[in-house]
């Protein structure tokens, strides 16, 4: 697994959530936002559409719109204001969609 960006400092005693990132099984904790779930499993959420590289969110409060990710059924979610759920299947394509 890629080194995680976010580090858990507290609130570790919560039910485990199992979800999938780009086909890879991952774990998060109940109450994690999708952003936290992704960034405790790696260092990026998506790639910029304009070729300037990976992005991993910015404001964490639903303002900057940098953290939009997609489920494998095409549903788009703002990662910082959505909560991770069991069985979620996230795709983070490395080229723009």
């Amino acid at each position: 697994m890629e080194a995680p960006q976010f580090q858990r400092l507290a609130e570790r005693d919560r039910p485990v959530i199992r979800f999938v990132i780009d086909g890879r099984s991952c774990e998060a904790l109940a109450g994690d936002t999708l952003l936290t779930a992704l960034l405790t499993n790696g260092r990026r959420l998506r790639s910029s559409e304009f070729g300037d590289g990976p992005r991993a969110g910015f404001c964490l409060m639903g303002t900057c719109q940098d953290c939009w990710v997609a489920l494998d059924d095409g549903t788009r979610l703002r990662a910082c204001t959505s909560f991770v759920a069991d069985g979620m299947r996230i795709v983070t394509p490395s080229t723009s969609t």
């Binding site: 994690d32 300037d52 590289g53 990976p54 964490l60 788009r76």
Partner: protein, 454 residues
């Protein structure tokens, strides 16, 4: 006009207090909140199942946060509270809101806008790299999710939030590499007399600095950001110039930065409230008087969404504004209470000025932004492209510059790049900032699915 309930948009300190004041008068307001629970950003509630006590989450503000939450929870059953709901358009007499994938038109008689604020930033080379967040974002990661944004974090920028968040991280066991303030120490020393008027706030600030230094954390003033360096597709170091002009490089895996706050003004714009340039905040702000009334009948404005004054002032403004609405509906209100609130709010206005003097927005960082720096992170527009397009097509204000360059045209609608872009443009044209105007809003104020409107 019947007996439509008043609407409050926002449930932070201002909106919560407005709602409680209206409920106490026997009205049952509709309270529309984008978040899943009341508290706004400063008193954001942890998700269900989290166990840290209030003291751990909110520090010195623990008692205030608890009072805010309990006060709002106490009226839940007597109001129409709509969390997880976005007001995406506002027109005379009706607003549109989105909840659970469905949009509803909600007619209104009167509305209190309490949308709050967001971080204010200035781009620097490498700022879009993974691992780089706003100070507010870093605080949310810790407060709301119990996470540090990295293992070894540089805190940079200016403002009280810089010291507060760095201290909160240090106290929670996060790795604070350094706290770097762009404001020269001399400026802060000069601002002390004004800051002392703010009572506890100044003392708290000093306390945070002392506490950080006591942990051996470097706290430096008068710095200039140079660049964030990248390795393995994420931030790996922060390069800056210290007060003596010497270049320094700090290894890090995260940066949290910001230069004060900006008011969220999109709904006020759609409500057709006139705006005026506020020289203290260096932002165009919607006009409101000391009662919270705006020039638009039936529209009121409370809290940081009309000018940054902090959570305590926002609470009082929320109450004052609700009392104005009640007066306008013909209710009797407690006149001495009105006068007392307005007196306190006048004092906080003086403190605002002192705070801006102690932590000035370093506009020169924007004016001097290198051409290669990404200015608009939504659309990938560099400062050089922005300057080039603006000059080539004679853009003389920010909306034309946006139309020609795409800067400000992306998903955030100029929330992130707007303040810095206006300074870049003003400097490129050698004109005063005020002449650049302000980015005009369009609905939807945030991205919504097409299915909602088709």
């Amino acid at each position: 006009m019947g007996d439509r309930p008043p609407i409050v948009i926002g449930a932070g300190p201002a909106g919560s207090r407005a709602a409680v004041t209206l409920a106490a008068a026997g009205l049952a307001p509709i309270v529309i909140d984008e978040a899943p629970a009341s508290g706004g950003q400063i008193y954001r509630r942890a998700p269900a199942g989290f166990t840290r006590p209030y003291r751990s989450l909110y520090g010195f503000d623990a008692a205030k946060a608890r009072r805010q939450h309990e006060m709002f929870d106490g009226i839940r059953s007597s109001i129409d509270y709509r969390p997880d709901t976005l007001v995406w358009d506002l027109k005379p007499g009706a607003l549109h809101c989105l909840a659970g994938g469905q949009s509803r038109e909600v007619p209104y008689r009167d509305v209190i806008l309490a949308p709050g604020a967001r971080d204010r930033i200035i781009p620097f080379p490498g700022w879009t790299l993974p691992g780089i967040y706003t100070l507010g974002g870093a605080q949310i990661a810790l407060k709301h999710q119990g996470c540090a944004i990295g293992r070894r974090i540089v805190f940079m920028g200016t403002g009280p939030l810089l010291y507060l968040v760095a201290y909160q991280y240090a106290k929670a066991g996060g790795g604070v590499a350094a706290v770097l303030d762009t404001t020269p120490f001399a400026a802060q020393r000069r601002a002390v007399p004004g800051l002392l008027r703010g009572g506890g706030t100044f003392a708290k600030g000093l306390w945070y600095v002392a506490a950080l230094r006591a942990r051996g954390i470097v706290v430096a003033n008068g710095i200039r950001p140079v660049a964030a360096e990248e390795r393995d597709a994420a931030v790996s170091a922060f390069v800056y110039r210290n007060a003596a002009g010497k270049q320094r490089r700090l290894a890090c895996d995260a940066i949290a930065f910001g230069f004060g706050l900006s008011s969220e003004t999109q709904l006020a714009d759609l409500a057709e409230i006139p705006f005026a340039f506020d020289p203290v905040q260096q932002q165009f702000l919607p006009e409101r008087d000391s009662t919270g009334r705006t020039p638009v009948r039936g529209i009121y404005l409370a809290g940081d969404g009309g000018g940054i004054a902090g959570a305590d002032a926002a609470e009082l403004a929320g109450e004052r504004t609700a009392l104005a609405l009640l007066e306008d509906r013909g209710h009797d209100v407690d006149k001495p209470r009105l006068a007392a609130i307005e007196r306190t709010l006048r004092q906080s206005a003086g403190f605002r000025v002192a705070l801006e003097a102690a932590f000035p927005f370093p506009a020169d960082l924007a004016a001097d932004m290198s051409d290669e720096t990404i200015l608009c992170r939504c659309e990938g527009v560099t400062a050089g492209e922005f300057r080039r397009e603006a000059r080539a097509l004679d853009a003389d204000e920010i909306n034309r510059a946006k139309a020609f360059s795409r800067c400000g045209m992306g998903r955030c609608q100029g929330r992130v790049c707007g303040p810095a872009a206006a300074v870049v443009l003003a400097a490129a044209l050698k004109l005063p900032l005020e002449r650049m105007g302000r980015l005009r809003g369009q609905p939807p104020v945030k991205p919504i699915p097409m299915a909602v409107v088709t």
